[in-house]
Symmetry: C2
Subunit: 313 residues, 2 copies
């Protein structure tokens, strides 16, 4: 039997699957994070390679797809590809698998997200968790990416953006240079702070991750549910931000289907209305799809796609 | 003769002055940065102590005022006070100066900025360079601070905020999820990048400082001067942000004078109009003052003020 291996690696974990020829999941494994900007190249590579090693059994390997957070620039790609190539050759010597004869796709994790929507390299996907990025295929088959500029200047509508804006509102409410908001008390209580000003110590610790800021999203949602106008506005703005990303993508890909992938799906009810307002004037017939596959299965399916970057041995 | 010593320490340099009893500057020295969050506690303390040592000559010391960036929380203050105390005692043994008998004031650098306006512990100051914070004295003589929550959630209208918003606009223009702006080309050219996307590598380097982001302000100003609506809007927004900080402070201090301190003074002409619009409805008679003294002289004058924190020996 031939299998495909898929690796979906992010800032908190790496998921690995082995699929049989019918697409059925034979094995499903988990390793620690593999965003190399967060855990370093050695650790990231090791987690990926151990995942692939553990997914291998007696079957021959037809292809490997690796869909990774943190692979944004050409330099990122080359760094990671060079490291993975070396380690795959070492793993090949130990296991007898000739990785150099197997297609090994390596792309940013939004590519696995796109494949997870319908199992096809087509359409559009909006991948929004801690960050936010949209990807689609234009009528000429070319990949179009919109957003994903990172937490400091992009990622509008992602969880970090929502959490950060809640902290901005909390500070402005406390100092009274912005409108009063319940976020002042709900966030302070949620984080177990004695005083609002302690948010500075909390936020600027070197170990503070974007994911932890994004974990304030449920507090924003709960505060909005209690009728707080500012918390509601932040969620409305997130819907608009994701809507703008989507609208820009749809203009370029001219495809009227959009898969929604990532944690943002959990709060879609709160942002759907402003998202739709932003998108529907121009694209009233857009269809929102829930992905059929997991991102790691999406990654495995990437191995067969010619339009994505493969590691050259 | 008796002298006062003033230390104004920030993220790029430390300025030290010795004043005679009439307030005349006898000596003016410069040491490297002393924001301990940026250079570490050992380096920060050493730069301050060496500055004080070099400012000492034969005169007796009447007071020392230390006005430091990075002293925001009670923990920051205690850390720095404990370290300075130890080092001042060591310096005292070498120089014969009994620092424990001399008032040594230690405060955040906005306090030295307040003193620099008129040499008095009264009124209001808006200190905006890379960050932005406002400080004033209320009718009961109590210190009111507004803003200064740092670059991630505060500092509206400061140089980092202006630079970051220009990068946001640049990304949105490139991906066409926001309006087209000349900032796309002017920033790329200014930073010597071949492609707009290289801004990601530039911005997220571990060594990238807030000050470097703030150094994009002249590019924003130049782009605004060429008529770019987005660049103009960013400057208008900065004026509004500083206006909101100021308005909140004036409501609490009920004093109608404001000193403007820091790099923002260099672009005041571009933000003055929206600043005034924000403040003048409520405070039409606000008087804007240019500081009479330098921040290091302001720091020296702090030594005589009882309402500020002193190091206890």
């Amino acid at each position: 039997m031939e299998i495909k291996i898929g690796v979906d690696g992010g800032g908190s974990k790496t998921e690995i699957v082995a699929l049989d020829q019918t697409g059925r999941v034979l094995r499903n494994l988990r390793k620690p994070a593999s965003n190399y900007h967060l855990v370093g190249m050695e650790q990231a590579t090791q987690n990926i390679i151990e995942g692939i090693r553990d997914a291998l059994q007696e079957e021959s390997v037809q292809g490997i797809g690796i869909s990774l957070a943190g692979i944004d620039t050409p330099e990122d790609w080359k760094n990671m590809a060079d490291n993975l190539k070396g380690e795959l050759l070492v793993l090949g010597q130990k296991t007898g698998v000739n990785f150099q004869d197997i297609p090994v796709a390596l792309e940013n994790d939004v590519y696995g997200a796109l494949m997870s929507v319908r199992g096809e390299f087509s359409g559009n996907v909006l991948a929004a968790g801690t960050g936010a990025v949209a990807l689609g295929i234009n009528p000429e088959g070319r990949v179009i990416r919109v957003g994903g500029w990172g937490h400091l200047i992009g990622d509008q509508g992602g969880g970090y953006d929502i959490g950060r804006k809640a902290l901005v509102a909390m500070a402005a409410s406390f100092d009274e240079y912005g409108p009063k908001s319940l976020l002042e008390s709900t966030i302070t209580k949620h984080l177990g702070l004695a005083r609002v000003q302690e948010i500075i110590d909390w936020l600027y610790q070197a170990k503070r991750t974007n994911k932890e800021v994004a974990s304030l999203v449920p507090v924003v949602v709960e505060t909005a549910s209690r009728g707080d106008f500012i918390a509601r506005s932040i969620l409305v703005e997130a819907g608009v931000g994701l809507g703008l990303l989507t609208r820009a993508l749809l203009r370029k890909t001219k495809t009227l289907e959009l898969g929604i992938v990532g944690g943002i799906g959990n709060i879609w009810g709160y942002i759907e209305s402003s998202f739709n307002s932003t998108v529907s004037v121009e694209f009233p017939t857009l269809q929102i799809l829930k992905p059929i596959y997991t991102p790691s299965v999406g990654a495995a399916l990437l191995s067969t796609i010619d339009q994505v970057r493969h590691i050259e041995f």
